[in-house]
Symmetry: C3
């Protein structure tokens, strides 16, 4: 299969089979590194890092050099184009006319999609704010598969900052797709965001069981907050929610995926709460627990204090292997998207994400995520907010850029006011009538003031359920 001219913006851009095909290619390449030196000869990778990063950038650049390609780098773009006020789409178009493939890191969520929309060449997301970091997910999955041969049925515990860790979000969806069970062990106050849970359940099936109370009180360990089980691995805890999470853990966990507190993304309030101080440490002592006897300790690095040096030499520690495996995985990805190598796609099942209706009417709500690319002053002159209607109860729109969801409070229908009614009326989003609005006619408002300023009047279905 040829992946030429495809993009990798979110992990959804690759099917399970394509991911496994890339992994085979990565292993072949790793086994014959000198043989890859002409694979991308004459090709140029543009490495655009609008946020500081050494590790990820150098990994991509090393991968391109190992393929015999060339690299042009802008590693602190904040100081140049941005300072002159250039939009992301302009940068994308221009660099797209210089290079053959773009690797982009950006602090704004959804920025990589914008680059992909405008560059005219393949684009790889190397991290867009707190949104996704799909190549990190690829090397995480590659490491699990290299060590355990399969992901299906594994128990993977996610540990630490599950709120801001973009690597975690991409990984959650990927693990679900490959059939793993996920134990959420967030640092208190840094739980998985609702939009991630919502997407997990709606798109990949399975269920998330929130545990009211965890028996664990060991202060060197997080409590399990929730457990996600895949559809074909029925969840025994669902029937007994008051049971301790230890039951689930009795056979041990296969991997402990640790992340650092992303304190650079903490809100002022979160900074004040000193969330980092409550962060427990994965260390030799913790790993002595029999639950972790065969557990792979994974971490996307860099670590701060949450992962002790005393386990570096432990054979369960995978984090430096993860980093090293980033090079062959990125080599395979670059070669595939540049059309320099084909991949063999095995015949595996890959959950298809549902096809959602697009929100088609005006007004376009402004995305409520302050880090979303669609609301930045340099981007609004050309970027129209776009949404998918991903849920009806409650009515939920998802921004196509940052994938944050929000629930409008009031709605109307173009059908009613254009064809049937003499006045334009708005309703509570949770009212009975709202359910009958066809998606293509849906109009949403964030407030009654907004509805009224646009000439709508309250219907009888405002102010409560009917």
């Amino acid at each position: 299969m040829n992946l030429k001219d495809r993009n990798l913006v979110t992990i959804d851009d690759l099917s399970n089979g394509e991911i496994l095909g890339l992994f085979s290619l990565a292993t072949d390449m790793f086994d014959d590194m000198p043989g890859q030196l002409d694979v991308c000869k004459g090709k140029i990778m543009a490495s655009l890092f609008f946020e500081p990063s050494t590790r990820t950038r150098l990994s991509f650049e090393a991968a391109m050099h190992r393929l015999g390609g060339s690299v042009i780098t802008a590693s602190d773009v904040g100081a140049s184009s941005l300072a002159k006020g250039e939009s992301i789409s302009d940068t994308a178009k221009i660099v797209g006319s210089y290079a053959d493939i773009i690797v982009i890191r950006h602090p704004w969520e959804g920025a990589a999609k914008v680059v992909a929309d405008y560059a005219g060449i393949p684009v790889i997301n190397a991290g867009d704010g707190g949104h996704q970091h799909p190549t990190q997910t690829l090397l995480d999955l590659y490491t699990i598969i290299k060590e355990r041969h399969d992901i299906k049925g594994l128990k993977i515990a996610l540990w630490g900052d599950l709120k801001y860790g973009r690597t975690t979000h991409s990984l959650i969806f990927a693990l679900a797709r490959f059939g793993a069970d996920i134990l959420f062990c967030p640092s208190p106050g840094l739980e998985v965001p609702a939009h991630v849970i919502e997407k997990l359940v709606n798109e990949y099936g399975g269920e998330v069981e929130r545990l009211k109370d965890s028996a664990r009180t060991d202060d060197n360990r997080f409590s399990i907050d929730a457990i996600y089980t895949t559809p074909n691995s029925p969840h025994q805890l669902a029937m007994m929610p008051d049971l301790s999470a230890q039951v689930e853990l009795k056979d041990g966990v296969d991997a402990l995926y640790v992340t650092r507190p992303q304190k650079e993304r903490f809100t002022d309030k979160e900074q004040g709460q000193n969330l980092k101080a409550k962060y427990p440490v994965v260390n030799k002592k913790l790993l002595q627990d029999k639950v972790f006897r065969k557990t792979m300790v994974m971490h996307p690095l860099p670590r701060v204090d949450e992962l002790a040096y005393d386990i570096d030499a432990d054979e369960r520690s995978m984090y430096f292997k993860q980093a090293a495996r980033g090079v062959p995985v990125r080599m395979a990805l670059l070669a595939a998207l540049l059309g320099a190598k084909e991949i063999n796609v095995p015949d595996v099942e890959s959950p298809k994400p549902p096809v959602y209706h697009e929100y088609q009417q005006e007004p376009r709500p402004t995305c409520s995520n302050p880090r979303c690319v669609s609301i930045q002053p340099t981007e609004t002159p050309y970027l129209k907010p776009e949404y998918k209607i991903v849920n009806t109860e409650p009515l939920t729109l998802r921004c196509v850029y940052c994938e944050h969801g929000f629930e409008p409070k009031f709605v109307a229908s173009t059908d009613w006011h254009e064809h049937k009614l003499d006045t334009k009326k708005y309703h509570s989003a949770d009212s009975h009538w709202a359910k009958f609005i066809h998606p293509e006619n849906l109009i949403v408002f964030n407030s009654e003031e907004e509805a009224q300023s646009l000439g709508f009047k309250p219907s009888q279905f405002v102010g409560g359920r009917h």
Copy 2:
């Protein structure tokens, strides 16, 4: 023709024929990109950007990689050598011993000439303050020729910040040399500097007609401030200065060259005047005017607000084509200056710039341009101010580095005080006698105090015309 070891510091460094020869090579290279991969194999380009720039730097680096060459980059040199106080000539000599060609961007005007003077290898100016940016001019000309086949007789309107736009200054001289007519449409307060006009008229012939009053009052458009016509295209407006500029425009303009307000170069006073706010926008509505029916819209990018996104898809919009064409043009230039490719120079006329006398005596006036390389503390220990005498009425000296001109107030002659007179005397620069001073004997002073402190006494020709 072989351009090996030549420099490109200002657009004057290439004749019209050489420019056209480079363009032929650029087109040949673009038509066979894979065939260029060994052209500069083993050669190293040093990319020295003392000012932030993503676009220009990446364009040069992509060009070098497309030729199979290597690149060493210092993209924020301000933080390193400069912080240690190193002079430009030392950097030039050292990097000149590492690389085969240097591409330099620097905030000081004339800096590229200093690098070229000391490096010992070919040097390309990628922008030196508000002075010149000759490769931008090359790709602008290349775009015009690609689209219209010839430049001679075209009407090109320059729009916006004509004061600080270095790309504009290089372009003005190039357009004049190739026989275009230029309509100056500056943003109020950002008119073309006098030294540019002076050089335009004195070196390229033709005439500049300033329009007292423009009939245009449309507030979405600048007035035409002046029109430059080439020598062999006699200017009908010269006889009727009160006529509206619309007469000139009746057949439409061939290109509208728009630039952003270079607000980073605005003086404090200009910042206060909010010049940017008065800047009109080139957008869909403006282009509906029949004057612009066949107009190429050009822009060196990045844009801020002066160029609307609603014309990006318009076939008249050239700015992304300009950027894309930068790569083959720079490939041709690099290959030619490195001696890796010869160019075919067509037999075209190229105006020869006049040969000026050099100012040879002491004192050396300090250049009055605060951004001139020659007055910077790190450079004065080795850099002697040098001037050309470019005009006699009024007496005008032009700095060889930044090309700013200035008019000294008082003069003397070495001939008089060394051979004929028993005392050293100084005269008003505009006095009758001043005209008889031979250029090789000329001594200039900026003030009577300076003249007197050097032992000169006032002659009878001080204080007014005689």
Copy 3:
């Protein structure tokens, strides 16, 4: 000889013969640059500059490109990984899994050793704080040998900031090893640090004679502060310490090695003393002195004001030659450490550094050098302070990272308190009994408080010599 997988952290890592072998290779490479283009094909050099540097970085990168290799660069790493709090060992391990060789510059002294300890691939120190800069030393030596064919017996004057100039420290040891005599001419207040003198005498033999009073009062010249003579060049001044240094200089000096004031390393107090203002200048006038008639003027560059431009064209000026020779020297080094080229090692004598006892007990003193890598908060979680016992009178421990020495005030012995005595006792480090402690049993304390807090009681040998 094959140097594959060796490191170059300090100049001690190469024997005299290996250095000369590298120089032969460098000369061969320089004589056939096009022939080197495949030597390191497919190899990746990681250029990690945690401190700004243009010259050294570009020199290494040019060298790697001349060998046909690739380069990945992090040139202002301070802003990325460090900001996320990553340790040097983690960076080393990760980059070690991407690249084939690492070149590291870092502000912390001993950082290059840490990288070498953890990277798993060859590491070259491109400057670690005020500690060492061994490749600068190599190109300095190469220049001397190219110009004078041998180093033995040459008189080399070191001039200027001998306190903070890391290039000077590496050079001092290398010159001593090759048998040169060294004249120390420090700027007042910037004398050679004691630990450098101590190492010089103890490890390379010879002697350092401090001159009480120099006859020189010429205010354009530093006084000679001390003279180092190699073992086989007995020092005539030793018998006549009051003699002026001019006697020593009567035959002239072979090289004047000038450095800029490293004012970025000055302490606040030193900043206040305006040490830079007292810095004399090497210029045309100074070089007219017959002492300097055949003197090579050397400088690692960048210069500030201490080296005048009026001698740039003088044939004695070597500094631009030094810089240019950095490329072939670094090419030879890279090719050798990557195992791509063997070197021919001539049969020359190379002083063997003495083998010291390691300090083996607890407590581990904290290194007193504030710039030592071993005391930085990101490094202490994994880095155990390590010391060598380099002297017994006075008892001196040398940090294995930054090589600073310190003299503990109080000592104890594990032998005594574990096997013979019923109580743990501590003694003055300069007491008679302290000399009998076996190195493997030595315990050191910086204060009586420290000893007592660890349960030791004062012996009778505390408070004075016995």
